[in-house]
């Protein structure tokens, strides 16, 4: 099974290696925009918890960016391969288990999410942020990448057109990028909205990353909730891979 996971991962790695330069360059665009607009532009005049706003939003930007990259590097190619190119059949016909396929894809999506996070961390330092990168920071980041890579897999297996995939992005990911404690702390929002936001996985990623960076201890609950999301999405993913044959 490990060998099969590696095979699925290997294919994606081959494709990424070929485009690594383009991948890195394109991944720099949106974090630079966020850092300029919210860090330099808007952030100059804002103080959060007696800290500088740039330091506050860097974990948020990392959380939302790793979410987008992990989701989209699994979601759109897999959706295209299932619905248009039919290349998914190559894996369905092969003597490998659904679990191997799901793990291989999720890991390769998470790797892309991590690479792009690394780019942001370097950029953030260049912009003058003071972030404290620790082992727990890495744990929280990896978990966030796994959550959204596996969510991308589930969405790709459910949505039947490319347009539906784009809609999923608009209705699910976009609201999360703004609401889930990325740019502000949602303490002052109405209670119902706050509850809803508390359920969403990205909120826990932002919380966890921010808590670790500011030296506020290990956010155990958030990490457990993220791990639960990963388990659930992977489980649903495996089930969908089996169901695709019905």
């Amino acid at each position: 099974m490990l060998y099969d996971i590696w095979t699925v991962f290997w294919r994606d790695w081959l494709v990424l290696k070929r485009r690594i330069g383009r991948f890195i360059l394109s991944r720099m665009v949106s974090p630079i925009l966020y850092l300029v607009a919210f860090g330099w532009g808007l952030g100059r005049s804002i103080q959060v918890n007696q800290g500088n706003y740039l330091d506050f939003i860097v974990p948020g930007i990392i959380a939302l960016n790793s979410m987008n990259i992990s989701f989209n590097s699994v979601g759109s190619p897999l959706n295209m391969s299932r619905v248009y190119h039919k290349t998914l059949e190559e894996y369905l016909i092969a003597p490998i288990s659904s679990i191997s396929f799901v793990f291989g894809k999720v890991l390769s999506g998470a790797l892309r999410g991590l690479l792009s996070s690394l780019i942001i961390i370097l950029l953030a330092f260049a912009f003058g942020a003071h972030a404290l990168i620790t082992v727990w920071f890495a744990v929280a980041l990896v978990l966030n990448c796994l959550v959204f890579a596996s969510m991308g897999l589930v969405a790709a297996m459910i949505m039947d057109t490319h347009e539906d995939m784009a809609n999923f992005n608009t209705y699910v990911l976009l609201p999360m990028s703004f609401l889930c404690a990325t740019f502000f702390i949602p303490d002052h929002l109405p209670a119902i909205l706050r509850w809803l936001i508390e359920i969403l996985p990205l909120t826990h990623a932002s919380h966890a990353l921010r808590a670790i960076v500011s030296g506020g201890g290990i956010p155990v609950l958030s990490l457990i909730i993220m791990a639960a999301y990963v388990t659930a999405f992977c489980g649903i993913g495996v089930w969908l891979m089996e169901k695709v044959r019905e």
Partner: protein, 279 residues
């Protein structure tokens, strides 16, 4: 080698395949014919473990599909109707991915990839992107891919659609050659002459049901060995005769241009599936 027992496949209300039973022997080239929508592709999809049957039993290489799916997957090679190569990879990488998915040892894998690329005459383009390939090249690469792991059964769904006549004939030679090596081949085709040329036995399906199963020769004989074909204002007409003299006597009574020829599988197909379907 392939044993299908009372297999049906329903999609919601629509029945794609209705109670099909078939036995295909080892080393046989078996053709599955039928008009569009007859259930050929659904049958292939079920036999290649891409879809599960609603009812019935599928046994391939002595293993039952519902229990030993992974074993069946390791002994079958599949060339689907549509191009499903990985466009982000080169031919070599496409084959390597397939070899890895079938757990081939690196040394054997590389050796087979080289052999097969040579075999389908793509060895000098092994490291270009598949995206730029023509239809014929993609089809050849798909055949190489299906054979890479030395399968016991090969499924070909419309393998020669869109190929040049020369390539098609080479492919036929290749399929015969594989048969001589003991490979069992199940192919679906629209080209009747392809089935006539290649297959020991053919099954004709219509609306999900098996309507005929025999050797191409026997199917033709059912109609009569000779056919007289002529055209009138309603279209082309054909009449079949067991005896050549009878046929030519009949042809002489017609005032238009007539053709007297031997019955072929296409006649059998058209007669069995009804002229209306073909239009």
């Amino acid at each position: 080698m392939i044993h299908i027992e009372n297999f049906s496949k329903k999609f919601d209300e629509r029945t794609a395949v209705d109670n099909l039973s078939l036995k295909i022997a080892k080393g046989e080239i078996f053709g599955l014919l039928g008009p569009n929508g007859a259930g050929k592709t659904t049958t292939i999809r079920v036999l290649t473990m891409l879809t599960r049957p609603t009812t019935g039993k599928i046994i391939i290489d002595g293993c039952e599909a519902s229990h030993q799916e992974q074993h069946i997957k390791s002994v079958i090679g599949v060339v689907p109707q549509h191009f499903n190569l990985d466009n982000d990879l080169t031919p070599w990488e496409n084959l390597e991915l397939h070899g890895r998915l079938h757990h081939m040892m690196p040394q054997l894998r590389n050796q087979r990839i080289e052999e097969l690329l040579k075999f389908v005459e793509l060895e000098d383009r092994a490291h270009e992107m598949v995206q730029k390939f023509s239809g014929g090249m993609k089809r050849r690469l798909m055949i190489a891919r299906a054979l890479l792991h030395q399968p016991k059964v090969l499924f070909l769904d419309e393998p020669t659609v869109g190929l040049d006549p020369q390539v098609r004939r080479r492919l036929w030679d290749l399929i015969r050659h594989l048969k001589n090596e003991g490979l069992t081949v199940l192919l679906t085709t629209h080209y009747i002459e392809e089935a006539e040329n290649l297959c020991q036995r053919v099954a004709i399906m219509e609306k999900g049901k098996l309507i005929a199963l025999d050797t191409p020769g026997a199917l033709c004989q059912r109609l009569g060995s000779y056919a007289v074909e002529w055209a009138d204002e309603e279209g082309t007409k054909t009449k079949f005769f067991a005896d050549r003299n009878e046929a030519s006597t009949f042809a002489a009574t017609l005032i238009t241009t007539t053709t007297l020829r031997q019955t072929n599988l296409e006649d059998a197909f058209v007669e069995l599936t009804g002229r209306k379907v073909i239009g």
